[in-house]
Symmetry: C2
Subunit: 211 residues, 2 copies
Amino acid sequence: MNKPLKIRKNAELRKPEILRSFYQTIVEEGIEGASIGKVARRMNIHPSLIMHYFSTKENMMTELVNYIINEYGNLLKNISVHHDEPHERIHQLLDVLWSDEWYRLTDVSADFSMLSVSFRHEKVNRQFRHLYAQFGKFLAKELQRFMDAGIIAAGDPDVSAEVLVSLIEGYRHFKHFYVDKDSSERFRQEMKRAVLNMLGYRPKRAGAGEK
Amino acid sequence: MNKPLKIRKNAELRKPEILRSFYQTIVEEGIEGASIGKVARRMNIHPSLIMHYFSTKENMMTELVNYIINEYGNLLKNISVHHDEPHERIHQLLDVLWSDEWYRLTDVSADFSMLSVSFRHEKVNRQFRHLYAQFGKFLAKELQRFMDAGIIAAGDPDVSAEVLVSLIEGYRHFKHFYVDKDSSERFRQEMKRAVLNMLGYRPKRAGAGEK
DNA sequence: CCATGAATTGAATATTCAGTTAATTAAGAG
DNA sequence: CTCTTAATTAACTGAATATTCAATTCATGG
């Protein structure tokens, strides 16, 4: 004789819940297949409830981008690179940036959809730009540290950071085209090597530093 | 008293014409906004005509990817790097790869849409993989040439080529976030510098080649 | 305890969607 | 000139779409 037992939640809980479902729907069906109806069905709620919270689909879209970018920003803040010894540190940093956890955070397939939106949507574009700027700033600070320690020879750390972001994104985009695990790991290793080369990294042993 | 004067075209002309319009619609409205109706309206033809040629929308999609990838492949074939002198050649190659013409060929915004499709669509995924493999092979051949000439110190040219493709795509994806022209050009220059570093390029002057 | 407002629903809106079927038009072959 | 065939349109269909609006259920604070 149990009543359906529907739990009422407030906006603070419901909105992100809807956004996550929206995101998941985009992952599974693409942005072209993510309708309000489908999102509602997945959550067992009424489509109107979604409209109640977001007014329009477009609105929901920009709030989703916002949500994701915040999540990303949080991750950025919590990157833990403990080592102070510069050689150890640079390797740890690259290990984190090319780690699986880093890439599991968001689903690249959905990110592509969002990025494609950013081309037509000024607001979304700005949001992404802000995210990348944040990311760049974080990396630039690290690079500066390595330059001060004299273990890399990059020019302007800001510009190098941008190139680095580019490479990281490029890697993210390509990863999924490598099906077999071996070549995937090799690709990852080669990426790290490439970055070190690119930055003019001088390894520990053989302390030759002419010029 | 002029009749509307509709010209009849055969499939050979009509199909690519439809595909181009489909592509343009995706550019302007995103894949989520590219319906058969809109494509037909843009061409002043009847939606059924599109169905006549492609049967299903999904079919049209894969044919579009095919079309684009062919175009890309043609571009690849026509890359003209004339110089034989290796130093000249490597610079010319990088100039071409980071040239405006190269990036004007397809619209990155639509490419993103397609790539996002590739995550859910096995056929599309394969098509992209093939394209990138082609591209990688082309670059690997060039890299081999530079290695033989002893002006770069890359390890396996195939792997380095993959990294290079990654970087090129990363650049393509980021380009549009740089609005002002100056920083855009600086970014481009820095990219080239990064690639040369990455490949362990040794400039002409000061022919020191110890090891 | 009741009044106010938020959460949620139901039914109805007009619109757009991909796709079907049948008819019409024109081009090319004989 | 006619017959055949391919290109094109016209008129639909049914399902799905986003969105609106009024009604209802609940929580809570005065």
